[in-house]
Every structure is written in structure tokens, then in C-alpha cells.
Amino acid sequence: MEGLLTQPFLTALLFGAVTAGIPLLLAGLGEQISEKAGVLNIGIEGMMLFGAYTGFVAAYYSGSFGLGFLAGGLGGMLVASLVMLFCIRFGLNQIVIGIAVTLGFEGLTSLLHHFQFSRTYPRLSAAPTLAIPGLSEIPVLGPGLFQQNAMVYLAVALVVFMAWLFRNTYVGLNLEAAGSKPAALDAAGVDVLRTRACAVLSTGFLAGVGGAFMANVGAGIFVPFMTGGAGFIGIVLAMLARGRPIWVLLGAILFGVSLAMTTALQVAGVNIPTDVVQMLPFAMVMLVLVIFARHSVLPPALGLPYVRGDR
């Protein structure tokens, strides 16, 4: 066990935690926007997966990671536009549509991947990293945290931006009102459906970028079903965060570390059965839910379609 506290192990753990945590962070932030606006976006898993696929394909053929993220985001938005159409425009049940979207795109991405690559799993070259001068020189922390892909820094900056957005802009007020009392927003002259549609599309974009990060930066390959519930963990993060982006970040770190532990412990050759080690992140989800689920505060109009004049 003394091998656990060595410098390479801790560095690998940190690096892995960031790599695993960023898709969760993006999904959680995205879901938070939808939930704030009153849309329970269960389809986020499908958005991530489709984003992972489109992002991977774009990066594979263009060789550009930037294009990969963009294509991932647009792929996620495409899926989100289905949710927008059915749940917001037509007011159908958000849970049913969300499940349908997730299942549908799990199947579709597998199918597309099979058509395109048959049974091979082509690999991207290693993602470029951006070392932050100065900070990246710090032992352990430097290589672990500050020699990452540019998207990592962008995602963390997004936390700050969203916190500012929610607090200081009309966009923040509109989102809060759309989820808390949509009729009040309508009476104030703001289109509730449009507000919610924008929220859902933003969710799709962020989830898609998260998926692309997972495929292109995290794994370097696309594998069917590769998101493995990351979108659902994102929903959990958003629900527990009470509308505050900083809590999504903290949650993503927690889950990122526990996911990274799985790999790190195996690499370190600790004498615990792998099955037990692989259970860790899921045990963590349950633990967090048991401890914190009581404290989650959800917008009153969450999951309810808005129809003007209905009470």
C-alpha cells in the first residue's frame, strides 16, 4: 500500500479525476440550465452519447480537436431540438420523451458506428494539452491539474460565467422565473416556451461537448454506450446543486476522483478485487444520494409543460 502515496500515483489520480470529471461537469451545468427553466431533461444521456459520436467522427476526419468539440456540441443540440419539439412545443411528458431520446440515441450511435467502422475502433492521437506557465511547474499538482486540454480550463471558466449569468443578468431572472412561476414570466411579457427552448438547446450543446470530451480527450476512441450513465450522474449533480454552478463543480470533482480511483488503484496494483474497485463510483453516487437527496430543492414548475391560461 505504500505505493499509493508516490508522486506518480497522485499525479495520475489528479489527472484522471479531471479527465473523468469534466464530462460530468459539462453535463451537470447543462442540466442545471434546463432544470432552472423547469425542464427535466432526462434525455441528456442521449445528447452526450450523440455528441460523443459526432465529436469523434469530426475529430477523426478533420484531425482538429476544436472542430470535434464544436461538432459534439452541435450533435447534442440536434438531440435537444427533439426534446424541444416534443416536450416544449407540444407539451408531451418530459420523462417519457427523455427516456425515448436516450434509448433511441444509444441504438442510433451504435448502428452508425457499426456502419462506419465495422468492428474496428480507430484511435485518435493524444489530445493536445495546454500547460499553464508557472502553475504547471508545481510538483504533483502541476502535471495533475495544469497540463490539461484547453477545454478543461474553459469548462471551469464556464462555472464562474454561469454563476455570474444567473445572478446578474435578465437571462438568469428569466430562467429562474420559467422554472419557478412560468405564468409570472409570461405576464411580464417574456415568452416562456422560447426561454425554455433556449435552455434545452444550451443543455444539448454542453452535454454534446461533454460527450465529445469523453470520446476525444478521455478515451481517444468512440465505443458504443461509452457514456455509461454520465448523463444521469449529471442530472443528480444538477438536482443536488440547488441551482448553484459551484456545487456542480464540487460534485463533479467528487465523482471524478472516485472514477479516477478505480483506474489508479488498479494501476497501483492494490490487492483488492477489481470488481470491488469498479463499484466505487456507483457506491459514491448512492452514498451522496442517501446523504444529500433530502436537501435538494427543485423548481416548483419542474417537469410541467406550460400552457398559457392554464392554472
Binding site: 443578468t169 435578465y170 419557478s180 405564468a183 409570472a184 414570466l185 405576464a187 411579457g189 391560461g309 392554472r311
Partner: protein, 538 residues
């Protein structure tokens, strides 16, 4: 900042001024209903124009059209003499028409100033400075003091309404529509609202006041228009209204609403009763031990609910105890605890000397406890079930309608046909799903089920909420006749006039406590009003 431009206000408005807003020949149809039938009205600056009418008279539809929530099928809306289309709430606000709806339309989790800023251009940053300036301007205009940073959910309903009025006037104080603004207020709140309305009128705002209470129409109105079944059936202009006494106004309005036919005399009575208390002259024998004794009841509440705190009272057979109070002060918990639907955290309920504190709904029902809920569809009845099933909803599985767990549909339907006839329930058949009936008829189903036999204690929660005149009268009659038969009755209502009409005593709920119980009689309104604000609550 277009939304905080000071409005152009003309001074020296006379009553001959041209209308600020007018509707001409407006017709609006809903499936099966003609909500507005060629309505023509004119609204003038510096005038409080009352639209008086019952539920279903078409007032709310008309307001919806002016507020941009609905479009008229025919006819036109004129603003400053020009025909316009008000396609959305935003356009309505841009024309200077602000609406305060019957239900609070504020975001409870946002602060006062944030609620008022809602609706600004989304690409701009929040600008608190100009917003606060406008807030202070409107505070002065209304003559109210509210903390702009207070969370709206923590304000009293009266204060929330003041914030709503500010929001309605935010982009210009031309027209203010108030839809049944007094229904949620304490008597003091109504008084304050009256002052605000007068101030605004004197500043040249055109006010449109929707109400079904004659007394309010007379007290606050400069001009009264009476609506019935989607049509304007009469109009009392200011010159005439000023010269009329309250009694004369009442008479004129009733004449407009019902004509002079005798068959509508009772409807007219109910309408007058709504606005003017009619005291019951019956004495209750309180020398015997009480039928229902409630001691130190407490409940636990989840977020957003008000729990009970040390509620104690006695109730004698044949007595009607009214429970007044502003909505959300624990009335729902009290009704549910009495019905056995909600667990008691502390305290004790005795029924005829027997401890029933821990009895659930079936046991209490056997003891003769009946509950008519305010949520008629949902809690009270199951919408997709037939009228017949709903009539026996609380006896499912028991003899004689069920035999060894098998439904005896023949008997259930027979029982239903009998009840339908006796209670005058208007339904195509006993097999019709109850959700297809009107609110009044669903209430009749509920009343029939809860009051059929062996009732000893009956709890009514907002028994006439949303009902038309006739059904209101029927519900009141059922309450009074049950009491006359010796049933101990609790009536929970936010309509104080209704309670004064039917109750022997009136208790007031304030923040989960029973702030006090007063005998019904002269001066009861003032005493209840004091208790409602917590003035005497120790």
C-alpha cells in the same frame, strides 16, 4: 431603458375625456361556451370602472383579451382610439395596460426588485439603479413601503398584491386592471387597496375593477357595468351612481342581472348575501358536553405549508363553526386533521368523549366524520371514475354494495340513480366520468357522498369556491340544514361574508394558531379582521 421611461400623463382629466381603452363588439367562443357575446365597453382615465358579474359571466375572458392572453374571435380593441391587436402580454404592457390577476403572478424565489425587473431585454445586464428609482417613484405613487430586496415568498398576500400593482404600472401608468383583487385580503388589506385605487384614480389612471361583490362595486366604483352570461346587461354611469344610495344601487344591479322575475329572486338574495352579511338567528345549546373536543393540536409541515400550533376548540351538535383567515395559515392542515387524513404530531381529538386522535379516515367515517374537500377533483373525486363509483368511493369493498370483495354494480348504480335524483345532480347518466361534470355538479356529488347518512361532524373546506350563484346557495343550504339536523359543522373559508352568513361562531387562523373565536353578531367583521392580522394573537 425603455421600460422605465416616465409615462406621459395628462392632467386635469374630466369625465368626458375620450376612452383610453375600449372594446367594440368583442365576441369570444370556447368549445360549448359563448364567453363574450358582442361586448362593447369604454374605459376612461381617472375613473374606477367596475365590471360586476358572477362566475362565468365572461369577466375573466374579457380581461384575458385586454391582457393579451387571448384573442377575440370577432370585434376590436381600441387603445387611444386606434384599433389594435394585443397579441401577447408583452404587447399589452407596451400599450400601457397592466393587469393584476386573481392568482399571484410573482416568482416567490426572487426578490421584489428582481420580480419587477423581469421582462427586460435579455441581452442587457440587470440595471438595479434605474429600477430602484422607478420602484421609489411607484412606492410614492401608491403610498406603500416595501423592502425592494425582500424575497417575495416571504411577503404577506397584501404586500405581494402591492408588488403586483407596481409591476402592472411599471412600464407606464395608463390602465390598471384588477381581477377580483380583494378575494385574498384581510379587511385591513382591502381598506389599504381602496386607498391605493383612489390615489391612482386621482393621478389619472384608468382602473378596471373586476368583482362579484356588490358592496365593493359600490364602495370603490365610479362606473358600474354588469355582465351576465357573456353580455353587458347594464351600465350605471358616474353621474347616476353618485346620486344613488347603496340600496338603490343594489336594486338596480339586481334588476339588470335578473330582470324583475320572481324565479330569480333567490339568486338575487344570494348575490346580496355575498356582499352583505346575513346573520343566523339560532341559538346553540352549549350546556351539554361538546360533541367534538380538540386540544392542543399540532402537525408537522413540509416546506411551503403552515403547520398547526396548539389549536384547541369545542364544537356542539347543531353548531356551525366558521374558520376564517388568509389562505395558507394552517386551514388546510386543520381540515385534514379533523378528517383523519393527516397525522397529528401532538394533541388530542375527542368525539363524543371518545379518543379518535389516532383513527384514520375509515374509522372516523364510521364515527360519523365527513369531509368535503376544497380540491373537488383530485382529492375529492376521481375524475375518470363514474359518478356512481365516486358516490361510494369511501365505501369500496364494504357490504352491502360489495359482497365478498365483488362489486354489485346493479346496486351501486341503483344507489347512484337515487342520489342523483335526490341531490339534483345534473349528469347525462350515473356512468358518466365525474370529470365531465361542471364544478357545481361535482360539488353536489361530493356533498351527496359525505352527507348522506349518519353524519355527526362535517368539515367543509371552501365549500363554494368557484361555484355560481345557484350552487353557492345550494351549498349554503346543505351546510345550514345539516346543522339544523344536529350535525356539528366546521366551515373553512377565506370568504368572510360567507362565514358570517352561515356560522354561529367564527374562529380565525393565523400562522397555524387559532388566534381567537368570536361569536357571530354585530361588529364581528372588525373583530375577525383584527384577529386575521395577528393583532390579538399572543
Amino acid at each position: 431603458m425603455s421600460e422605465i421611461e416616465p409615462p406621459a400623463m395628462s392632467s386635469g382629466i374630466s369625465h368626458a375625456a375620450p376612452p383610453v381603452v375600449a372594446v367594440r363588439q368583442v365576441t369570444k367562443r370556447f368549445p360549448g361556451v359563448l364567453a363574450n357575446d358582442r361586448i362593447s365597453l369604454e374605459f376612461r382615465a381617472g375613473e374606477v370602472h367596475v365590471l360586476l358579474g358572477e362566475n362565468g359571466a365572461g369577466k375573466s375572458t374579457l380581461i384575458g383579451i385586454l391582457a393579451g392572453m387571448q384573442q377575440p374571435d370577432e370585434g376590436e380593441v381600441l387603445v387611444d382610439g386606434r384599433a389594435v391587436t394585443i397579441g401577447s402580454p408583452r404587447e399589452s404592457l407596451e400599450y400601457g395596460i397592466g393587469t393584476v390577476f386573481q392568482h399571484v403572478l410573482l416568482v416567490p424565489s426572487l426578490s421584489v426588485i428582481e420580480n419587477l425587473m423581469l421582462g427586460g431585454n435579455w441581452w442587457q445586464r440587470l440595471s438595479r439603479g434605474p429600477a430602484l428609482a422607478r420602484f421609489r417613484e411607484l412606492s410614492a405613487l401608491l403610498g406603500v413601503t416595501i423592502d425592494p430586496d425582500a424575497e417575495v415568498g416571504r411577503l404577506s398576500l397584501g404586500e405581494q398584491q402591492q408588488v403586483e400593482i407596481m409591476r402592472a404600472l411599471w412600464r407606464g401608468e395608463k390602465v390598471l386592471i384588477l381581477d377580483e383583487p380583494t378575494s385574498m385580503l384581510t379587511p385591513q388589506g382591502v381598506h389599504d387597496l381602496g386607498q391605493v385605487m383612489r390615489r391612482l384614480r386621482d393621478k389619472g389612471v384608468a382602473l378596471i375593477l373586476i368583482t362579484h361583490k356588490l358592496m365593493e362595486a359600490y364602495e370603490f366604483g365610479d362606473r358600474i357595468s354588469v355582465l351576465r352570461l357573456g353580455r353587458v346587461v347594464g351600465d350605471i354611469p358616474p353621474e347616476r351612481l353618485r346620486s344613488m344610495s347603496e340600496a338603490e344601487t343594489t336594486e338596480a344591479v339586481i334588476e339588470m342581472m335578473f330582470g324583475s322575475t320572481a324565479e330569480h329572486a333567490r339568486d338575487a338574495e344570494t348575490l346580496v348575501g355575498r356582499g352583505r352579511p346575513v346573520h343566523r338567528d339560532r341559538t346553540v345549546d352549549r350546556s351539554a358536553p361538546p360533541l367534538l373536543a380538540v386540544r392542543d393540536l399540532e402537525t408537522e409541515a413540509t416546506r411551503g405549508e403552515c403547520p398547526l400550533r396548539h389549536v384547541s376548540f369545542d364544537l356542539w351538535p347543531g353548531e356551525v363553526l366558521g374558520i376564517a383567515g388568509v389562505d395558507g395559515n394552517g386551514q388546510k392542515h386543520l381540515a385534514e386533521v379533523l378528517a383523519g387524513q393527516r397525522a397529528v404530531a401532538a394533541g388530542r381529538i375527542d368525539l363524543a368523549g371518545m379518543d379518535v386522535t389516532d383513527d384514520g379516515v375509515p374509522a372516523r367515517r364510521r364515527h360519523g366524520v365527513r369531509y368535503v374537500t376544497d380540491e373537488r377533483l383530485g382529492e375529492g373525486t376521481v375524475g375518470i371514475f363514474s359518478v356512481a363509483t365516486n358516490l361510494v368511493l369511501k365505501e369500496i369493498g364494504t357490504e352491502p354494495l360489495w359482497r365478498r370483495g365483488w362489486s354489485d354494480w346493479g346496486r351501486i348504480h341503483e344507489h347512484a340513480r337515487d342520489q342523483i335524483e335526490r341531490n339534483d345532480i345534473r349528469t347525462p347518466s350515473e356512468k358518466t366520468p365525474v370529470a365531465r361534470l361542471s364544478g357545481g355538479n361535482i360539488q353536489k356529488v361530493l356533498l351527496a357522498r359525505e352527507l348522506n347518512t349518519d353524519a355527526r361532524v362535517a368539515v367543509f373546506n371552501k365549500p363554494t369556491y368557484g361555484l355560481d350563484l345557484q350552487n353557492t346557495r345550494i351549498a349554503h343550504e346543505r351546510i345550514v340544514t345539516s346543522a339544523d339536523r344536529g350535525v356539528a359543522v366546521v366551515v373553512v373559508s377565506t370568504d368572510l361574508d360567507e362565514l358570517i352568513q352561515v356560522s354561529d361562531r367564527i374562529g380565525v387562523m393565523f400562522q397555524g394558531r387559532l388566534a381567537g373565536i368570536v361569536e357571530n353578531g354585530p361588529d364581528v367583521e372588525r373583530r375577525v379582521g383584527l384577529l386575521m392580522t395577528g393583532a390579538e394573537a399572543a
